[in-house]
């Protein structure tokens, strides 16, 4: 009896200890993220908790700019970062150069093993010159050209005429605009230059710098000369709405009024178009590849682990779940239209379905082709500086205050000055 009591109390004690240790093992993981990616993480929680019931997820969502500023501050001061941090494409190079994020190419993470499972241009974006990898890709923005089928029909122009080459794009554009008074071929001529600059790179070249940090912008570079010349031709033929950057007031209004015949952007634009940007024109838009067999990426998101994180193992489990689980990637695509970076998720039946807004066109197949044709581009810490200098040079060409060679020579000098 005594023994039975003793063993009972011992087993009770053991159970109590176990349950306490069980309760202690519950880890709260904080995830720093921005809209709409926050809805993706939120949607992932139930599925993730089925696999990891002991990891509780707390989402800290801030506006896009605030999120990245807060992350910069947290990395600079060494405290205040979340366990998992979402990073937008535009910021990856900046964070990659710093030492604040865990190198996930090393054990126990060994992210390199997943490389072949992802669209091939995504990994190089998060890898530094010295081979460290700071973030895992989750979604991508394959570039696509959207066009108004009704405007093309009225002008007797086929979609193939538009995207055979950049010259044919401009020629067809003239016909479209003259057949549809009050319309524009594209919101801003500079968008075309941006695509041409981003495509047709020689291997090992970055956008503005080569491997040895030599400036590639020059009045003799065919890539930059063509980019500036085509953009100028569009501006001179009065084909663009001169709306400036995407999401500007003129850009938005031009969409809402149905004054645009084409737009080049990431596949994600359809979500905006159907929800608010061009709600009234459902069924009139269609999608195809960018002109001149250009394939380029419009953004994308990543997840990284700050060195400060106290729960790196759990953080990595969540990142793996968010990025390498096909079901989760498809759920993300359904939730916000975040195009999966994981190739396995791109074979889901959903891809063979028509997109209702695009008159049931199977546009996702077009975007998948684009995604798998985009070439990796080497990123450089000074890309944002060069980006701005080139944009200024382009605007000087577009408004006629500089010639193409003049603007490119000036830009070359300014970039070289910053790169010394």
């Amino acid at each position: 009896m005594k023994n039975a009591l003793l063993s009972l109390s011992l087993s009770l004690l053991a159970a109590a200890t176990l349950s306490t240790s069980h309760a202690q093992a519950k880890v709260t993981l904080t995830v720093g993220v921005f809209p709409d990616l926050d809805s993706v993480v939120k949607a992932a929680i139930p599925g993730f908790n089925k696999k990891f019931p002991n990891i509780e997820i707390k989402i800290n969502s801030l506006a896009y700019g605030d999120h990245h500023n807060a992350l910069t501050t947290a990395l600079a001061t060494g405290s205040g970062a979340n366990d998992v941090e979402a990073i937008d494409f535009g910021y990856v190079a900046k964070f990659a150069e710093g030492g604040g994020l865990v190198d996930i190419s090393k054990a126990p993470y060994s992210a390199g093993q997943y490389r072949s499972k992802f669209v091939n241009y995504t990994f190089p974006q998060a890898i530094t010159d010295d081979g460290r990898m700071v973030a895992m890709p989750t979604d991508i923005g394959p570039g696509s050209m959207f066009y108004r089928t009704d405007y093309l029909k009225k002008a007797g122009v086929s979609a193939a005429d538009l995207n055979r080459s950049w010259d044919s794009y401009v020629t067809a554009g003239k016909k479209i605009v003259s057949a549809n008074p009050g319309t524009f071929l594209i919101p801003d001529a500079s968008e075309v230059a941006q695509i041409i600059i981003r495509t047709g790179l020689a291997s090992g070249e970055g956008l503005y710098f080569d491997k040895n940090n030599k400036v590639l912008v020059s009045p003799t570079s065919p890539r930059f000369v063509q980019a500036f010349t085509v953009a100028k031709a569009i501006r001179d033929a009065k084909l663009d709405a001169r709306a400036g950057a995407a999401f500007s007031s003129d850009w938005t209004t031009a969409f809402q009024k149905g004054n645009l015949a084409t737009e080049v952007s990431g596949a994600w634009l359809v979500g905006h178009m159907q929800n608010w940007l061009a709600k009234d024109f459902s069924g009139k838009w269609a999608s195809q590849q960018l002109p001149g067999k250009s394939f380029t990426s419009y953004g994308g998101s990543f997840y990284g682990i700050p060195n400060q994180s106290q729960h790196k193992a759990e953080a990595w489990e969540l990142i793996k779940y968010l990025t390498t689980d096909p079901a989760q990637q498809i759920l993300a695509f359904k939730t916000t239209g975040a195009f999966p970076a994981l190739k396995a998720a791109q074979t889901a039946p959903l891809f063979n379905e028509g997109v209702p807004y695009l008159a049931n066109q199977k546009a996702r197949l077009v975007w998948r082709t684009a995604a798998n044709n985009i070439k990796p581009i080497d990123v450089n810490r000074l890309d944002p500086v060069a980006d701005q200098i080139v944009a200024d040079a382009l605007s000087a060409v577009l408004d006629g205050s500089k010639t193409v060679p003049q603007a490119l020579t000036d830009a070359q000098g300014l970039i070289a000055r910053r790169a010394r």
Binding site: T73, L75, E97, D392
Partner: protein, 326 residues
Amino acid sequence: MQASATAPPRPKRSPAERWESFQRRYAPYIFISPFFILFLVFGLFPIVFSLYLSFHSWQPAAGLGSMKFIGWRNFTDNLTDPTFWQSLRNTGILALESGVPQHLIAIPLAFAIHTSLKRVQGLVTALYFLPYITSVVAVSVIFVTLFSWQYGVLNVVLTGLHHLPLIGGLFPAEKINWLGNRDFVQPAVASVVVWRYVGWNTVLYLSGIQAIPSDLYEAASVDGATTGQQFRYITLPLLRPIMFVAITLTLIGNLQLFEEPYIIAGDSGGIGSVALTTVMYMYRTYNFYGDAGLAAAMSWLLFILIGALTLVNNRIFGKSRLSGSD
């Protein structure tokens, strides 16, 4: 005669007395400490740190450990950067374009409100002051919509006026691309700044005018001075101290112009970066280029410029010229 060598033993104080003496001696410091703590944390520390930073090369995302001392390099790099000089030029032009009209409108307006609109003075002042207290983001966004090239109300009105008989020729036949043409971006931004700050300056000048003794005006009108003469010979000279304050505030404010050009022309300063002010460039250098040291040095160069211009303003309108020594 001889004082006792040993002081009488001090009576032991009770805890209550000790507490009271502690309170009397230290409580004031505790009460005023929040100011000093806040000032140290949010005032003095950033100033000292930014000075320290301006002599270092630092990529914030790489953590504090990556800071490297580089001497005056950040200053020389800024001073040889054509974009920095362009941003200073833009700032100067915008400061003038938006600063001068503010005062040219506000002074006569304050005088008119004081002399002719006495009954509705409060209402009119409140109306003029409204833009100042409205969110600058909301104001700028609305102006962007008004300035829109294809769809803006401003162009609709102007081209509509063009069709009027007689005066139609004064207005443009074609829509003006306010924010897409480098000749119009700066005036567009400046007009928003003027609109926003005229009310503020009017209130300042109104308070100045109200402080001028009314018997001066009475004496002047007895002597047959017209309203214009009263304005010229009484109001303007006596407003000088207020002018000094108002112009100093405008000077400092305009050289730190950020929100209006940032929202109206975009973060790169619009077409040809003509509305890129120095503060915007500083923000861009830190936030987009990730170069904190260069941005800190830029802020100190701007500080020196503002200091110098304030001194010049002090020479023109300052105290030495107010005491009647001129």
